[in-house]
Symmetry: C2
Subunit: 690 residues, 2 copies
């Protein structure tokens, strides 16, 4: 707890005690009809105490909402932003005329253009520059695949139901809301209670169904809408289920991630890559999560675009050939240790984080660096981007290390990209379930001598002993790893027999010395066969775009100063429209020039908009600033025109035949606005932003 | 029926009769122990007749498979193509390690690149060049939307079930297969039967469930795998169903097309466009159809990418401002009349087809032209592309006109793009269901005097007569169109009352003169309010890509002549990889140059591949020809390199620093190979394609 808050809460409690006891004194004096001057003095003291209490209450309120006063600003900022986004059709609640569906949104024209620019840049930055193998797999996925991946069993959230209406809620959300509200609104909360609630908030992500249920009972939490009592929490699978084909006998799901499509293709992709490691496959596509009760606008939705990379690498060599390109990048990192000891994220050189072992390996480090470059080039603010390492209890048991690119927005720090070293887990799971080995080979230049475990079951003896179960016993014996086998060998040698658990039989059997021979033999090997590790950067495109909206949005006063104008400062790379073309006044000659410029822009593939309405030029600028259009071309002569840059509002004058190539250069990133400003004369106009 | 086939079938039947009667004569002669010389003569005659019969049988077989001998070549061609596509991972049956799912395919790396190039060009050609409003809506769609569109009720295929195993089949497919096989294999089929089966093949797409069922019974068709009897045909809805949210109370479907997402957004998009018509919205996205038993590889799948355009236009003015750009295009068209009279598709000038009224209106014509340009620029063969008009019975009742872009491939003529004038149907359907008016306004410069129908129900009288049903009667009266209302007015004036059907009540009621006043009044109107028509070009991207594979694929002998090499002649625009870089021999200097060229290619965004294996240059060419890579750069000095064009195998020699810009120019379509061949010296090398 914040020290100020703690002190104030304590002082407030003491003051409350003082007020109560002084009130008792006053009451006693009244009852005993004491001297009026004594009573008056006691009353004055009570009044003074009450005043002091109120002062402390105000201080406490201010301390609690220290974040909140900021929070209020955040709410206002977000509301202005969201209004602009919805009014200009960056996005729209889907099926709005039918009152919509929670968690489903459409991208309207400018949003759709931003999205397709972000995806095009993702392809350029990752797939093309890194020679990745891009694939495109269906969303409809048969059950067997998602059983192997663990999603059928484990991809769940805990849910409670209103016991009368049946309305469903996420159990952790209800508990979180309860704690937050209590902390903000109840000033008389004893310090121990405050500490408890804050602890619950910190750990509730790790609560089991039982723990969540008992807290909900303990705190008397009811359904928010009806105040009815709630069911016990139970898991709800977040996959949209469907049925493949007409028989109704083949269950399927809409994929919750795109990665599985890559894993099941590993064998073919490895072959396509000339049977060489490392290589990366990538996929962009829709994924689906049937959220229990979606909130937070574009951040928690039921259908979204993922862009995922699966980089397959030899577990014994996780170096990366292009690691040198990112080693000197410096940015905010938030390692496990800093989180556990209550410190802040700190600026680290990537090379240092890897060499000190904070980041598990070079390849993981390389992708952290590449993700940093990707996000900042899109326009994400460096100061509001950090890489947070997963705590040990957040990671799956098989994961070697895991970092999230978190972007700060009005909802807090939001996970937008996950970068995980998942070791061999996924390929092994699909190998086991499908029976198709998903492995890589390393051919030795010269054969190597290795000590190999040899387990030789004696089938005759096993057959006599176990009859019909023989096959399962043999398989279980052969599946022992080195440690198990050597322990069995030792026990057999000392005791002559051993109890042995056979999973497929669901019981233990007695193995005697005569039934199996276990030894280590030296062998020449020509190759090494192994399951590759996979390092997975996974991008939530919608979340990145929403954060980009927040980081790009600002307001500035109109020239008259009478209103605030909205601006999106998108870099040209992601701007939905690259430029607008305006004739300064309505006039056929200027319109002709505008059309001619429009044609030349289309020819070089620059998306743009002509506005020949008679609206004032200032209004037309304001309209397009609100769409984040970086450049405005104003036709005010028939030989040269002006180009205005959105954020500086600076203008240059250029010949008509140069316009398209200048805009293209600056938009493609071959030149900067500064470069072209240096070449062409500045244009200053009084009438400009009126 | 083909006249040759008909004659032969008749001759064969006569010959069979002759054989039978001659055989009878022989039997009689034997029975009567006739003169051996008579018997011998009769036997010789029988033998001669049998020989003649065999000859005719052979001729008939040849006549029937006239198309089929061609068909056999097609099968061989397709098998070679499909083997190449699967081996080089253009596409892969999805979830192959789990034995796949019928109708689901992945695009592997080169296929995925082709697809993303096709989509990028679609965006450039349609969205950017035509200033369309692109949107991006979710696949998960609530039931109410697809009820309004009619999909919940009508998006079905007829299915039969194996009565013992429950296996499902498409009823029309079984009947089609039966007829085709019978016609091909049963030479003794009487001519009338042949005519009948051919007729069934021609019309079975129009069969009702009852007609299909009775034909299946009549022909004794059984389940193909088990020969068990089949159920009656019944409709199966082709949408994948799911449930939105955790309650299980909100049914949803995976969208069967992307169009509905645009229609429900009409109001916002119209506003975004400044409340002006015409405008077009566009969407690229996944669509889903739970096919009963998918066949034909990539042509009939359960999940596919659609690119759809909805062009909204004033029904009274379907002109198009850019119609002039396409008016002189000439290509194969197959109007309704030519189809009905058994003629072939014919070459028509688009402007003529529109002016003669063969194509319903300019906007529809404009899009036909734009689709033609799109497909041919992708590499679709002009001679194997035709625009077929829908027959009257193929079109929905509301459609004004409809043309399919059909591409010929080894499966026949395949519908790849549908271009339909759907009139006001979709917007009206969603207006009705949602209660939100989806209309456009035309403001008059000056108010216009119009005669307006005024229907004024007299609520008091109606209330007395119909009590609780009054509201529905009032609504039905007000909903009458001009013709209905004027008829009612006339009847009321002549007879004093009239029977009136109220749909919402499901019965007729008696309306008396006192209950409603109907009149025409002159009014001043300031605007016209109307439901726009929509013209919808809808592109099956997967089908277009498959046809492109067929049209681009050819084989040529290797230099040694000992094997056939596969080539895809993709235009640079769609080629998955634009060029390869090979050092001629393994040598560090050349490798350095190759890497330098690779960097410069990446910088200008050209996808390419380095191959530094020691394989012979001829083999390396062959490998990349099979991926359709248009240009190969071979490093054979440290100052200049050669560029080889895939189809001509011509080579030019260029300075290293020019390579990237040359490849980019030719790939972007700013220059042709011919242009650069004219500038740079030809390189001829004996060792080239060895």
């Amino acid at each position: 707890m914040d020290p100020t808050e703690e002190t104030l809460r304590k002082t407030l409690a003491e003051k409350q005690t003082a007020v109560t006891s002084q009130a008792n004194i006053v009451r006693d004096l009244k009852a005993s009809r004491a001297d009026p001057s004594d009573l008056e003095a006691a009353l004055l003291a009570l009044q003074a105490l009450k005043l002091e209490k109120t002062t402390i209450e105000n201080q406490l309120q201010a301390a609690i909402s220290g974040s909140t006063s900021n929070g209020v600003n955040k709410e206002v900022f977000r509301q202005t932003l969201v209004n602009t986004l919805e009014r200009r059709l960056f996005y729209i609640p889907s099926f709005k005329i039918y009152r919509g569906v929670a968690g489903l949104y459409d991208y309207g024209p400018p949003g759709c253009a931003v999205k397709s620019n972000v995806l095009a840049f993702w392809r350029q930055h990752f797939v093309l520059e890194e020679n990745m193998l891009e694939v495109d797999c269906p969303c409809v996925t048969p059950e067997v695949v998602l059983k192997a991946s663990g999603h059928v069993e484990k991809f769940t959230d805990l849910m409670v139901k209103d016991e009368k209406t049946g309305t469903c809620y996420r159990a952790d959300h209800l508990l979180k809301d309860f704690c937050k509200e209590k902390l903000e609104k109840d000033l008389s909360l004893p310090v121990e209670k405050v500490t408890e609630l804050k602890h619950v908030l910190a750990v509730l992500d790790e609560f089991s169904a039982e723990e969540l249920g008992s807290k909900i009972k303990e705190y008397g939490i009811t359904a928010p809408d009806t105040k009815n009592s709630l069911s016990d929490p139970y898991p709800f699978n977040l996959m949209f289920q469907t049925s493949i084909g007409p028989s109704g006998l083949s269950p399927g799901y809409m994929r919750p991630e795109t990665a599985q499509g890559i894993f099941v293709n590993f064998k073919d992709l490895y072959y396509y890559n000339g049977n060489k490691l490392p290589f990366a496959a990538a996929q962009i596509g829709q994924a689906f999560r049937n959220e229990i009760s979606p909130r937070q606008g574009l951040l928690r939705v039921r259908e979204f675009t993922l862009a995922e990379i699966e980089h397959f690498v030899d577990p014994d060599d996780k170096s990366h050939p292009r690691y040198g390109d990112v080693v000197d990048l410096e940015f905010l990192m938030f390692p496990r240790e800093e989180q556990m000891s209550g410190q802040e994220a700190k600026r680290l050189r990537l090379g240092e984080a890897v060499s000190k072992g904070i980041v598990n390996n070079e390849t993981l480090g390389y992708f952290i660096g590449r993700v940093y470059l990707f996000l900042t080039r899109l326009g994400i603010d460096k100061e509001r981007l950090r890489f947070r390492q997963h705590l040990a209890n957040e990671m799956a048991h098989y994961a070697a290390d895991c970092w999230d690119a978190e972007i700060e927005c009005s909802y807090g720090w939001i996970e937008c990209v996950g970068i995980a070293d998942r070791s061999a887990y996924d390929l092994r799971a699909h190998s086991d379930k499908s029976g198709v080995p998903l492995v890589a080979h390393e051919k030795f230049l010269e054969p190597r001598e290795v000590e190999k475990l040899v387990i030789a079951p004696v089938k005759k003896e096993l057959g006599l002993a176990f009859k019909g179960n023989q096959k399962m016993v043999v398989e279980a014996l052969e599946a022992m790893d080195e440690k198990e086998a050597m322990e069995m060998k030792a026990t057999l040698e000392s005791k002559g027999e051993v109890e042995f658990q056979v999973c497929t039989l669901g019981k233990a059997v007695t193995i005697k010395s005569c039934m199996v021979s276990i030894s280590k033999e030296k062998k020449k090997e020509h190759q090494r066969v192994f399951t590759p590790s996979v390092i997975e950067p996974s991008f939530g495109i919608g979340r990145i775009i929403y954060c980009l909206f927040e980081h790009s949005f600002y307001t500035r006063p109109s020239k008259g100063g009478d209103e605030q104008l909205n601006v999106f400062s998108f870099p040209p790379l992601v701007a939905p429209i690259k430029c607008t073309v305006f004739p300064l006044v309505q006039n056929q000659q200027y319109e002709e020039v505008a059309k001619q410029i429009s044609k030349s822009l289309t020819a070089v593939g620059i998306s743009h908009k002509i506005d020949i309405t008679g609206t004032s030029i200032g209004k037309r600028y304001a309209r397009t600033d609100e769409l984040g259009v970086p450049f405005a071309i104003t036709v005010d002569t028939t030989t040269t025109v002006t180009i205005r840059e959105r954020d500086s509002k600076d203008q240059i004058r250029v010949p008509i035949e140069k316009v398209a190539s200048i805009v293209k250069e600056v938009t493609d990133g071959q030149s900067t606005w500064g470069d072209v400003q240096w070449i062409y004369p500045t244009h200053s106009s009084i009438s400009a932003d009126e």
